[in-house]
Symmetry: C2
Subunit: 218 residues, 2 copies
DNA sequence: TTAATTTTCAAACAGTCGTTTGAAGTTGAT
DNA sequence: ATCAACTTCAAACGACTGTTTGAAAATTAA
């Protein structure tokens, strides 16, 4: 087995596979991407995937894990930084914490830019068996921390309603940063430019902030 | 070719295929669903799909078209009803119009309930070549009408920013009604119940309304 | 240099894919 | 009852799927 992918040219090969697979998985999904597409784009032999990652599923998991850790750590840092700095933080600040993590991730080419957000947005609707257990493991604590912080900032809302608003917030955010746009889908032109994370965040913040702070529904 | 699918048992067969395919496409995507899965679930011979729909792509198109028309008509009716009833309608009312269409569609089992919204939410991230031209054709005018109405209700915003807010609104809406939930993905429990469209709408409205009416970002 | 290890490669594996075929079965009209 | 049109069916089509093989090539260690 290829346990020594940290030396010489081997690293280059497995890295080329990861990079090619990442793009293809985001674009066409897991089952919509074939081994030969991946190895063709990466310019490696088709057996290299099984050599380095064991299987196609193993490759997908590796593709995901590569980005999941830095994103989770970044998001967790942001919320910890906020909640430990003061007692009376606002819901807007919680949203900013979450968004700044996505922004920094999206602006950093070393972290794949916005690719990982797109992969997350896809996982939103495409229930991958690999992610079914990997995601709660990676983001369970993170989600609980944000829900807790949001509940603390919005004490007039029930925990049920706090969960709903977190749900709405993340939906809008992920799709916004991923560039999943109604107009791109329903019209021929797009009308908005999702390329620049800074601009997305700027447009997103007032919407999310107002939504979170809106009066209770019940 | 099976051009006479409006007589006798033939209708039953093509209908069974449509119903089975709809669920499987939503659950596993286009490339993640095989002909044999579909015909197995529908309990028909595998050749029946090509006989009635020409190809797998043709089937997908038929699955989509069956729900697209009533949804588009419903949404268009709602916005026309609002804009013709008075001159000074609010952004909240525009959001309500859009939401009530999704609600009525989701509450009506004859229209497949929430299945179509899930299919739409999936199309959000999975760029199906069939939909690439079908969606603008079906929803182009609809989108323009809503954007126009939203711009009229929010005259202090630039058309750019109106587009962004429509983008955020629809992202939150589609994922909410489709039940695409962060907590369902990132945690083991879900914390929110997306089964009841009425409840979803009730939770969604104050969030969306406040977001739309928030002060301009620029 | 020799020996051991790691990596690459072309070729083939069994299985599944969407699709087609041609015959058998069914239906309704004359 | 006869005919034509429609629908169903088992079987097979070539192409493609992910994976494995065993030898060649490249790299590393002694």
């Amino acid at each position: 087995m290829g346990s020594g992918m940290e030396t010489g040219k081997a690293l280059e090969t497995s890295l080329r596979i990861l990079n090619a697979a990442e793009i293809l998985f985001v674009e066409h999904g897991f089952s919509g991407t074939s081994m030969r597409q991946i190895t063709g784009a990466a310019q490696v032999n088709i057996a290299a995937v099984n050599y380095y990652f064991g299987s196609k599923e193993g490759l997908f998991q590796a593709v995901f894990e590569r980005r999941a850790e830095p994103f989770a750590r970044l998001s967790l840092d942001k919320i910890n930084q906020l909640t430990s700095s003061k007692n009376n933080f606002t819901a807007t600040e919680v949203a900013e914490a979450f968004m700044s993590a996505a922004m920094e991730m999206g602006s950093n080419p070393a972290h794949g830019g916005l690719i990982f957000v797109k992969l997350l947005a896809r996982s939103y609707v495409e229930p991958n068996p690999v992610l079914k257990e990997k995601l709660p493991q990676r983001y369970g604590e993170l989600t609980r921390r944000y829900l807790e912080a949001l509940g603390q900032a919005l004490p007039h809302l029930s925990s049920q309603e706090v969960s709903w608003r977190f749900h709405f917030m993340t939906s809008a955010m992920f799709n916004a940063f991923a560039g999943n746009n109604v107009m791109r889908l329903f019209m021929t032109q797009s009308l908005v430019n999702a390329r620049d994370p800074q601009l997305v965040a700027q447009m997103l913040l007032p919407f999310i902030a107002a939504g979170l702070n809106s009066p209770a529904a019940v």
